[in-house]
């Protein structure tokens, strides 16, 4: 792994430019062949070969630009690079070797951590944090008036978008993994949903919950890196070398680890000709070097780590099939259970009952059934014990027993529709009788409990 990393780093060092402090900004430039590194004194023109040259600004930096260059939000628009003052408001254009202010606005300080982007001839700033509130507003720069205008949106508008991950494809702006602060106590809460804003109609729509496997608990406050690359979104969090490539059309996200990419994509980076260009700080000298990483290598990698990006209707339908199957299974299991317990009759001192039906019993009937509650097969002798009386013949007892069982069986059949007690002759001695309880019947004797 280490050898691979060294080779990889060596391979990807297209060239390096050393900078002595962090106050610089890498911007894309007009041509795909070169990019700029803006510093306080001048700027470097860096070509994709090993050529770079330093030039001084043709005009001095405007006084209003009183913050570090690295805090500006750059965006390429109509082959020009615009730089936005942190928090919104002041807008600068880098053109003809100079940084010029082009707005007639003021420092808004209303949208820190917002996303600055261009779409179809317009510059937009979305979300951010300012004046103790997270914002979900979208503001558009008016090139005629030089001021910013609020764009009215509708639909399922998220409540505040701070430090989110953004991706533009066609007329859709996808937003996810952003923070919303409670204005009362400033407590941050991460929004786990994927939202999409249609940039034609400006209607918000919630697409679903993002895969929790792409969200790291530790990264709630960690700055994120995200880049548009090959019509996909490449993103990661600062605290881990895990990267994700999201395909919004296919609802797929691929996970992979890359230490070199992690190392080189810290801070502000740009993508130029499938190369990620970023600044890396030397931990010994403190100097920064501009380094490059060939992203095309990622296209050839097979990660086998495909996950769904957000849960969608397909997931929902799968769930519904599962739910209906589960419900059916539950009904079957409960039905079988009910069949088993349904023939459990409760016997008390005076009656036998089952789910709402109750039959009053005589004393001798109760005792007879109580005997069957204790064991399912009762010998004739045991049963006779209930009927033998002093001063009465055995024949009387037999007749009484037979009549009692006959009457009891008839009563039970008419009320519950089932014959309770059957009798059988013994196989060894046909004169011996055995009484047994119907297999489907179970008697719980509550009078003895």
């Amino acid at each position: 792994m280490r050898i691979f990393l060294i080779l990889f780093l060596f391979h990807s060092f297209l060239y390096c430019q050393s900078l002595d402090n962090s106050n610089f900004l890498i911007i894309e430039g007009e041509s795909p062949n070169y990019y700029y590194v803006l510093t306080q004194d001048g700027y470097y023109v860096c070509e994709s070969s090993e050529k770079f040259s330093f030039k001084e600004y043709s005009k001095s930096i405007p006084e209003s630009l009183n913050v570090g260059l690295n805090t500006l939000l750059p965006v390429s628009h109509n082959d020009k690079t615009y730089l936005l003052y942190p928090g919104g408001g002041l807008l600068y254009l880098f053109a003809d070797g100079a940084i010029k202010r082009i707005d007639r606005s003021f420092p808004h300080r209303n949208q820190y951590g917002a996303y600055f982007f261009s779409h179809k001839g317009n510059l937009y700033l979305i979300g951010g944090y300012g004046y103790w509130q997270t914002k979900s507003i979208i503001t558009k720069f008016n090139f005629n008036s030089g001021d910013w205008e609020i764009v009215t949106t509708s639909g399922q508008i998220p409540k505040g978008i701070d430090q989110g991950i953004f991706f533009i494809k066609k007329d859709n702006l996808y937003v996810f993994d952003f923070l919303t602060r409670n204005p009362n106590n400033q407590k941050e809460k991460r929004n786990d949903n994927l939202y999409v804003l249609n940039l034609k109609s400006f209607v918000w729509k919630k697409l679903g919950v993002t895969n929790n496997l792409i969200r790291s608990n530790a990264s709630i406050k960690g700055a994120k890196r995200f880049f548009k690359f090959n019509e996909k979104l490449l993103f990661s969090y600062t605290d881990t070398p895990e990267f994700f490539i999201a395909d919004f059309n296919e609802n797929i996200v691929e996970k992979f680890k890359d230490d070199a990419l992690f190392y080189k994509s810290s801070g502000h980076s740009i993508i130029k000709k499938n190369n990620l260009i970023g600044a890396v700080q030397n931990s010994l000298t403190g100097d920064f070097r501009i380094e490059s990483f060939a992203l095309s290598s990622l296209l050839n990698e097979e990660t086998n780590n495909q996950l769904y990006l957000y849960r969608d209707t397909e997931e929902f339908y799968r769930y519904i099939y599962f739910a209906l199957s589960f419900l059916t299974l539950l009904i079957i299991v409960l039905s079988l259970y009910y069949k088993r317990v349904a023939q459990t009759y409760l016997l008390d001192e005076k009656s036998i009952s089952i789910s709402g039906s109750l039959l009053l019993l005589t004393d001798i009937e109760q005792k007879t059934l109580s005997l069957f509650a204790q064991k399912r097969i009762v010998s004739n002798n045991e049963l006779m014990g209930l009927f033998i009386e002093e001063n009465k013949t055995k024949d009387f007892a037999v007749k009484k027993k037979n009549k009692t069982i006959q009457v009891l069986n008839d009563k039970l059949y008419s009320d519950f529709g089932i014959v309770f007690i059957n009798r059988q002759k013994s196989k060894s001695d046909s004169r011996q009788l055995t009484y047994f309880l119907n297999k489907k019947v179970r008697i719980m004797d509550e009078s003895t409990i």
Partner: protein, 343 residues
Amino acid sequence: MNIELILIAVLFGIIGFASSYYLNGYLYGAFKNNKMYDPIISRSSHKEKATRSGGMALFFTFCVCYGFGKAIYSMSIDLYALIAFIFIALTGMADDFFSIKYREKFFLQVFAAIVLLQSGIYIDSFHGIFGISEIPVWASYVVSIFVFIVIVNAFNLIDGIDGLAALLSIKFFILIGGLIAVTSTEMNLVVPSVVGAITGFLFFNFNPSKKVFLGDTGALLLGSVIAFFIFYILDNDSYIITDPLISRPLLVILLIIYPLADTLRASLIRMYKGQSPFLADRVHLHHRLIDKGMSHWGASTMILIMSISVVILGFIISSFFSLTACCFIILLYLTLLYYLFFN
């Protein structure tokens, strides 16, 4: 679907079932030892000795599952919603033990509804019904409190025969689970836990030798949790994946069609007779099935299957017809079911 999520859901279903099964058995024994049986009166559909400990067992099972969910997964329900559930469960327990008056119970339910609204999840839109979408906050509060009272009491009223309220609650939670699973990472384990808990209870509810009833604790608790999820669906901020398929208010009505229809019918009959709509009697649809000679299990499963068929019909026709036409077709279908099975 994510395998890990399925396994965790199954685990919570098992935890819910096992806890509920154990607690129902344990509480049944405790109630029995103290001879705390449900009194058998003229309106009773049972003749066996039964305890009203099911609701308590469900409540404790929810607590166990929530504790596990919070400890090992990101399970979370808004604190105000939890307070409202606990409050309503305590109200139910008080009613089970001391039989509190209806008016007092009503005010306690209103209080629980007000607490629940503090969670920020309530009905803030009619979603196009009567041409109304978003409504003012005060109207949201009034409508939400009214809906809460109706749902909670509707589930309490249908708890008249074995398994009915529990089976209809299971149906609700299982169907709602899909919406929650794709919407909320915090609440997606609530559904398997609740379904497991109710299933565990059902094994006692249908057992004649250890019969356990939900009691007011269980019926009110289930009703309030269901009301909370209905607020969640009708809250404009919630993402509901079925929006392109079916109108949210229609979906909600279909999910609880039996409790709503039965309560509405019973109230209308009582008012027609000049009686209080809150009078306890045997005019409910499920009593009709029992009086026809059906077993409790038969009547409960029949109503369950019918109510599932109404939801399926609603989903199918919503793809082809307007909302008004859908309501009309569903009304026709319900009338047909009534004349076929309940008349």
